[in-house]
Symmetry: C2
Subunit: 463 residues, 2 copies
Amino acid sequence: MTEKVYRTELTPVSFLERSALIFPEKVAVIHGQRHYSYLQFAQRVYRLTAQLRAHGLHKHDRVAFLCPNIPPLLEAHYAVPAAGGILVAINTRLSSNEINFILQHSGTSFLFVDNELYHLVEQLNLDALQVIRIADDGTDNDPYEQFLAQGDPHPLHSWLVDEEETISINYTSGTTGNPKGVMYTYRGAYLNALGEVIETGLNSESVYLWTLPMFHCNGWCFTWAVTAVGATHVCLRKVEPEQVWDLLESQGITHYNGAPTVQIFLTNHPKAHPLSRPVTATIAGAPPSPTLLGQLKSLNIRPLHVYGLTETYGPYTVCEWHEEWNTRSEEEQAALLARQGQGYVTAEQARIVNPDLEDLPKDGSTMGEVVMRGNNVAKGYYGNELATEKAFAGGWFHSGDIGVWHEDNYIELRDRAKDVIISGGENISTIEVEQLIARHPAVLECAVVAIPDATWGSVPRPL
Amino acid sequence: MTEKVYRTELTPVSFLERSALIFPEKVAVIHGQRHYSYLQFAQRVYRLTAQLRAHGLHKHDRVAFLCPNIPPLLEAHYAVPAAGGILVAINTRLSSNEINFILQHSGTSFLFVDNELYHLVEQLNLDALQVIRIADDGTDNDPYEQFLAQGDPHPLHSWLVDEEETISINYTSGTTGNPKGVMYTYRGAYLNALGEVIETGLNSESVYLWTLPMFHCNGWCFTWAVTAVGATHVCLRKVEPEQVWDLLESQGITHYNGAPTVQIFLTNHPKAHPLSRPVTATIAGAPPSPTLLGQLKSLNIRPLHVYGLTETYGPYTVCEWHEEWNTRSEEEQAALLARQGQGYVTAEQARIVNPDLEDLPKDGSTMGEVVMRGNNVAKGYYGNELATEKAFAGGWFHSGDIGVWHEDNYIELRDRAKDVIISGGENISTIEVEQLIARHPAVLECAVVAIPDATWGSVPRPL
């Protein structure tokens, strides 16, 4: 730890310590019938911390979790860094082979695995690992609970020396090749969490519903952001629209996140109805269609459109709303909100550049790559210098996403570089075609791909 | 600048760059009939930056401002660091001698001075300084405006290498001895500004009224916080309750800050009336009395009680409200809110300690010194190693404030160390006596001091 009185190394673990100090009795975590106060949440985290150390964890050892959005994974986001380890939250939709690659590549020492997902690792050679199973059945027989019960509920001395140390590794599921392990720093996690608090308007009265997987960019850093303000986490094993609608009302949810697909499931469910209090839905992954935006608003759900990648801790840009846009037509508003906007308050300006990293004109039509840098960009790929050098060449992170730059400085995505359809020598943006089709009220969701064509080389076709 | 793609040195100058990028046409600054958009605000700042460099500013040169809460002082909070200088915002209530000490001690190169305050420096030897006068009359003849007009409205390359460099020096007016120059860092200013955004709930729709002097801890970092979210600054040459009430309504103010004295002036003015939209009033300097709190609430003003010193960038602790306290009696609520609470989300835990820096019991009665540390604590005193060593001894900043620690971890001030009244060998807290007297509805404001007494040594007497 630094000896400077005026410096504390930034770490999101401090958020939990503070909320346990200020709001010890406030509900921190809800999971079905189970409720943990902030004091209980912290004590569970400290128990896990103590147990990791007691079971031989060394500084920077990797600790993997394979489980849905349940309290143990939330606890891991504090206990693993508090113990000095590095969290590897594994995508639960991966195959056994992919999971095996991640366990081997990360050199994981501990694996915590949910019973329902155990079949994914059953065939693997886990001899080198300490495996702790999670029953999540609310009983004391749960091996995870037994593991916790043996730990001391008091905080241990932190081993953190430098806020640029790695706090987590998030493996991206690239479409080609092996997954790459994206390294987040303590500093980045802390600043991104505060960025999420500010951009989505979280405060101590907020109630956050875990529709977004925690394994996905550490839940866009909401695992830490929600705790930072002493708000309430509502866990969810599985995203089922009916249950989500029940929770929206019964728990007084104020915030949730998800891709448009999740939002479409929700808005089109029979239980969908205007909510009595406004809810902020942060949307990323694809631009929301005008139809979806209209539906969300009619349900008293305020859509916030953000954009980012695993390499940017989740969201990096936000389409900041301008008050004067409220007077525009619904269609115009949807078009404005479909843009990805600009960097968070904690981020630098996102740029659209040519291959020489030169700014492209802000004309809303010249396509180029989105590049980003700074505190909201990851440290690199774990054990993969080559991929790191390539992705961060020239001092900027190359997203591989293709977009345009509007006159008002907002960026708008047109495609993934690899998805651009070259038809008759012209570049066609699949997103542009998708957006156009999705405007038809009869269309629920739409994806456009290229199919081979004798005349044009390729032509777009909606799925 | 660091070569790491994943690191940007933290600087509040980035807040202005971002808001000018995202909200170029939004009103950034209101000063009477004058309005500046974020683009204009940024261009004025860049002009000032360019002029400082053009007039020979070297890195870390001190630039002093002696003026009320007018746009030039707000601009200085961005232009001086953008140019690479260090801002010295001087308390306008000081005498010529004190101002002279600050100018000499800081070794200031540039002095910007408001015409109404020029008499304070008229007699001083200013030969070593470049002096620019500010007329603030809204005309092009204003020497400050002429200075700006010659500058280039585009940003210059930053000279910032390390976020721990000094961004500003704020001289404290100690009651004994010469003022000490408290050094703030870029990192501290950035993190404290985000802390203010989160704790006071600022967002892009906020309108902030400058009742708190900007020379006071750089306006508790609100000079930077308001800009960070693209909110609107409303300047104010002088705090006159009548004008404040007019602005609260006409400008749709959502936030303002001030000591209880300022709040009392406001609540007792004939124009006082319940506001149509809720306003957050952040209060520091002394605990608000129950009477004041009741009055504020009846005016639709939400009081937020914070505590800090110049050495902590302004507020360090906040009395975070608990929802369940809403059901308590008014008197109980006032007593709860009169406490200073605990550290901001960006701060460490505030402690109450004995002279050996050991924690005192959390019993609500054992008095000890308030100590603090970390990113919300200043770097030290400029050119005063001795005072720095003393104030920061043992790895903690010694506030000189005496308080108690409640069972729920909140701290509550009892006195300044030097104000404690020793009467018949017992310590009497002047704040406790003041609070008791102020509960009487006929009492507007109250201060208690010690007067000599033949029997008791000293006895308290209200003023």
